[in-house]
Each structure stands twice: as structure tokens, then as C-alpha cells.
Symmetry: C2
Subunit: 205 residues, 2 copies
DNA sequence: ATCAAAATCATGGAAAAAGGGGATAGCCGC
DNA sequence: GCGGCTATCCCCTTTTTCCATGATTTTGAT
């Protein structure tokens, strides 16, 4: 029984790289690939891969959202997150969205095969750097934002004032003020400058 | 005469992707690859590729620095920047460091072949998204800061208020205010949020 | 030595953000 | 059905930033 593998990545080169790496593997059946979340969901309506290698940065939807949707609809599918970033927030978000593995794009062929092997057994696989990250960083220094807070954060980063954001989101300026206060608290920032800096550091922006 | 191509990228998958894409091209001779800047420079001591496909985000050195060094020592080599990011600052810095081309990692095989073809003729190749960026953002040139302005910029990014900066630099708060005003002008920013963002984008921070 | 740029300081006012309180309604999980 | 989280809204005060306009001294390069 060969393992059905599906790839989701918006980078043609990465798809090509994985294909060439796995195409001559006896136990692997490359079922296909998708360049975006939508194509992935369409594929899953008629096919059932065992493992999905999924990029975190997709064009139309974040890999994190896609991951959540897929694991809800198709719990049997094992997902391995694929990313260039060893940012803790990405790793934790991907895992909490149902991914079983996380490998970086500088992974070797052997590492990817190991990851596929492990998640097939229902076990977790984290790349060395990823698990280092999990150990060395206490989870509470990457804030968890709500949908609205993320939205406001991006508007702040785009230079909008509270009044402008309020107009754009059709809410009261005092509401924006509250979201902003919460952002400062969550990022442990005393002003906008350091808020933006930390947010960029942690790849929220 | 086949075109000698060398690849520099710290992602194994991308190397593998390019190799598999170009390996069966008649006109292309894949001379090898490097995972970091140092290995690239070592290779160039004994070999002379026609084209280097170079990632911007390397482990040991930024692709921008590597690009500058290579074009200085080996002006005959044509460099094509390779990146996941279509950020203007990356594109302009890569081009001003001597790269002739810039393609994104979601490029198709045909696009990469075209890019190689064009830079071989000494002509520039920019991916569609990259040239869109260049068109749409003409005002966004890199500002020139004075010593003091750079200093103040970093203090702002560290979350200090004007009063605190004044105390630290032993000057009047109004002086800081002036520096800050100049920073906003030079970065074409209307507030601190976007100032910090642009400053990080342009690698001042 | 001269000219330009940089760094310094100021006044006064407008706008925005930060900090401290609260309050209400909806939703979800246990 | 209760507690917790989210999102919404309001008050008030203080701090900080932004804007306009002007000036003096220091420094650097030709």
C-alpha cells in the first residue's frame, strides 16, 4: 500500500522540488498538487490523500486556516506544515490547527521522508529547529490575537489613525481604542513604535 | 556553447526544484549549487558560471551583500535574484547591487528560462509582479539619514518617548522633536507606526 | 574662509494615543 | 446556566506626538 501524498504550495519551485525528491520513492504516490487553498479543497472532494505537505503562506488563504478546514472535514488526512520560517507563532498556530508535522523548506529528502513516516503512524514530527524553538521560547511571549485585533493591527501598521480605522470598519473610534489598548497589552508594548516592531518581529505583519 | 548556471539558496527544496526544472534543458549546464554565501564564493574561485540564480535570504550573509561582492570580483557573471518576496526594497537593493534579473519563487519554468536568456544578452529581466512594484511605487526611494537621525530612529524603535531620548542623549526634548519631524519627512510617513514599518522594510532597523 | 548641512533650541497649538475606569450583548464550551 | 472570551461602546485625564515657524551654533567639505 503506497502512501498518497498531496502538495499545497504557491511556489512552483517548491512543488517541483518535492516532486523531484519524492517521485522515485517506491512507497510514495504523488497524487498531485495545488497552488492555492481553493484548488486543494476542490481536490479533496474527490480524492483522499494520506498526507498533505502544506505551505503556510498561500496566496488566497493562510495555510493555518486551510489546515483547520481540512482537519475538520477530513480528519483522516495527516498534514505536515511547510515553511521557510522557524517562527514560533507559525509553528504553534499550525499545530493547534491540526497539523501533525512541521518541517522547514531547507529540509533534506531524508527529513521529509521521516516526517511522512511518523505522521502516518499518527505521531508528531517537528524539524530540529522547530522543536528547538518550542523548547527555548516560553509560549506566552507570542500573543494570541483575535480576528478583530489582527485586523486593527494591520491598519495601524498601514498608518491609519483610530478615527480612520473606525470609519473603515464601521465601528466607533472608542472601539478601536479598546482593541488598540488590548494590542499594547498583548504585545507588552508601551507605544505604537514598539508594537509595530514586535509585530513585525513575530511576523504578524 | 551551453550556459553555465550556478544556484545559491539555503533551501534544499528550491535547489532541488530548479535542478529538476533545468536538468533536461539542452542549453543549460547546471554547474552546481551552494547553500550559503561562503560556499558560493569558494566555488567562484575555480569556476566561472555564466548565470547565478541567487536567493536573497541566505543563512550567513544577505544575498544583497553576496551579490555586491560577486559583481565586484567577477563582473562577467550575470546574477538573477530569487525570492519569495516582492517587496520593493528587496528588488531595488538587489538591482543596485549588480543583479540583472529578479524572479519570484512562484515563477514557472518558462519564466526562469526567459530570465536566463535575457540576462545572458546583458538585458534586464524582472518578473511581472516585480516590475509592477517598480512602477507603482516610484516615490519610495531610500532616504539618507544623518548620524543623529539614525540614532533617534533606533531609540524610537526601542519604544522611548521624546523626553526619554532627550535625557539619554543629553539634549532638549524639542531637539528630538525636530529630528523626529525630519524622520517622518524623509520616510514620507504621517505617524510613528508607518515610520517604523518603512524603516524595518528598508533595513534601517 | 566660506557655504551648506547638521544639530541644537524655542513657542504655541492641534491631533492623536495611552491609561484608567466601566458597561452591555452575543457566543461557545463545560 | 454559568463563566469566559469577544466585540462593541462610553467616560475622563494625561501624555505624547504632530505641525508650523523660526532661530543659533557646530561641523564638514571645497
Amino acid at each position: 500500500m503506497r502512501t498518497g501524498v498531496f502538495i499545497v504550495d504557491d511556489h512552483f519551485l517548491v512543488i517541483e522540488g518535492i516532486r523531484s525528491m519524492l517521485s522515485d520513492e517506491a512507497g510514495i504516490d504523488l497524487m498531485g498538487h495545488a497552488y492555492n487553498a481553493e484548488a486543494c479543497l476542490t481536490f479533496l472532494q474527490h480524492h483522499q490523500p494520506d498526507v498533505i505537505l502544506m505551505d503556510i503562506n498561500l496566496g488566497d488563504m493562510s495555510g493555518i486556516d486551510l489546515c483547520r478546514q481540512v482537519t475538520e472535514k477530513y480528519p483522516a488526512v495527516r498534514i505536515i506544515g511547510l515553511s521557510s520560517y522557524k517562527q514560533l507563532s507559525f509553528i504553534t498556530q499550525m499545530l493547534s490547527s491540526g497539523a501533525l508535522g512541521y518541517v522547514l523548506k531547507n529540509a533534506t529528502k531524508q527529513e521529509i521522508l521521516s516526517a511522512i513516516d511518523l505522521v502516518l503512524q499518527g505521531r508528531q514530527y517537528l524539524s530540529l529547529e522547530a522543536s528547538e524553538m518550542m523548547k527555548n521560547t516560553q509560549t506566552d511571549d507570542v500573543p494570541v490575537l483575535t480576528r478583530r485585533e489582527t485586523e486593527v493591527l494591520h491598519l495601524i501598521a498601514n498608518g491609519l489613525t483610530n478615527a480612520e480605522m473606525a470609519a473603515q470598519l464601521f465601528v466607533s473610534p472608542t472601539t478601536i481604542d479598546t482593541h488598540r489598548k488590548h494590542l499594547l497589552e498583548k504585545f507588552n508594548a508601551r507605544n505604537t513604535a514598539i508594537l509595530i516592531r514586535r509585530a513585525i518581529d513575530l511576523r504578524f505583519i
